[in-house]
Amino acid sequence: MSTIVEINSLYKSYGSFMVLNNLSLKFETNKIIGLLGPNGCGKTTLMKILCGLITDYYGDVRIDGQAPGPYTKSIVSYLPEKTYLSDWMRVSDAFDIFSDFYSDFDRAKACELLQRFHLNEHMKLKAMSKGMQEKVHLILAMSRSAKLYVLDEPLSGVDPASRSVILETIISNYNKDSTVLISTHLIYDVEQYFDDIVMMGFGQLIMAGNVDQIRQDTGKSIDEIFREVFRC
């Protein structure tokens, strides 16, 4: 068990608003970690920093020992909330890009996943529903053998049936020695999939630990704890 992500005293502000306030965290390998917290608590900002999209911060962030840059981008697989593929693309065009730039992209696996979702390579993104597009993005992210998968709300806006399929896809396709970081609002349905959770609020770390350990210590589920902490 080694550390894949190490964050020390991370500060990030947008103008006068402090989105991340002295955050220190560690993520270990071979874990599925839930990143939980209300909207605006800094989850997406944290993920963007890990993926190298935001470099304007104070503090120390290390992924596999290195600061965010081209190397870390090659070992981090990101699924943002927004769809990032151009409308005119076919699925095969997206596969071409990933094959060209990511040496860990497994095109065969991607095609297999496509089939499982009843999609095919020649479809144009323009002609797909939002749900289908999101599945394509998920397939792209999960067909890479990354050391760190960063999935931003992969389950919101998805119907319950698709949710299970997505979770199954995540579980059965992530690389054995890697870490999966999932941010979500849907704690109740999903907490049994997490090894550990990190709960954030108001830019700070509220709680972090192993799900079963927390249940044992507190006698409550993560969902219940969340409701207590963030009760209005």
């Binding site: 199954e168 090894d195 079963d212 589920s221």
Partner: protein
């Protein structure tokens, strides 16, 4: 899609579920246990949690690992019978506790259990 009770550690609930499979004969003695990832997907849990449950079951002697072949349900029928007894005890205790919640005494509860016929 959450069949798990909220406040009990999941791995404990998994251990219980698998014990039931074994004592009920759904997983007969000597059956091959599916690989962790497959089981985890089946139950809808984290593979590490499933792994933890399986390790506990190994420690309890209900499952054993054959180095290259994988995991198997024990062939020790006495062991299985013991576990079935344990689980049975718990079920009965729970039933009595619930009857007591309805206002019956310990004796009345016991009598009800003994004289119960389904469909009456």
């Amino acid at each position: 899609m959450n069949d798990f009770k909220a406040h009990i550690p999941i791995y404990l609930q998994l251990i219980n579920a698998i014990k039931q499979f074994i004592v009920s004969g759904r997983w007969p003695p000597g059956t091959r246990v599916p690989p962790v990832r497959e089981l985890a997907t089946q139950f809808g849990v984290n593979p590490n949690t499933m792994q933890r449950a399986l390790l506990e079951l190994e420690r309890d002697g209900l499952i054993f690992t054959e180095r290259t072949a994988g995991r198997f349900v024990t062939k020790d029928n006495d062991r299985i019978a013991n576990v079935r007894q344990e689980l049975c005890q718990k079920v009965i205790e729970n039933a009595i506790a619930e009857l007591k919640n309805l206002g019956f005494t310990e004796q009345e509860a016991n009598l009800l259990l003994k004289t119960h016929h389904s469909g009456s």
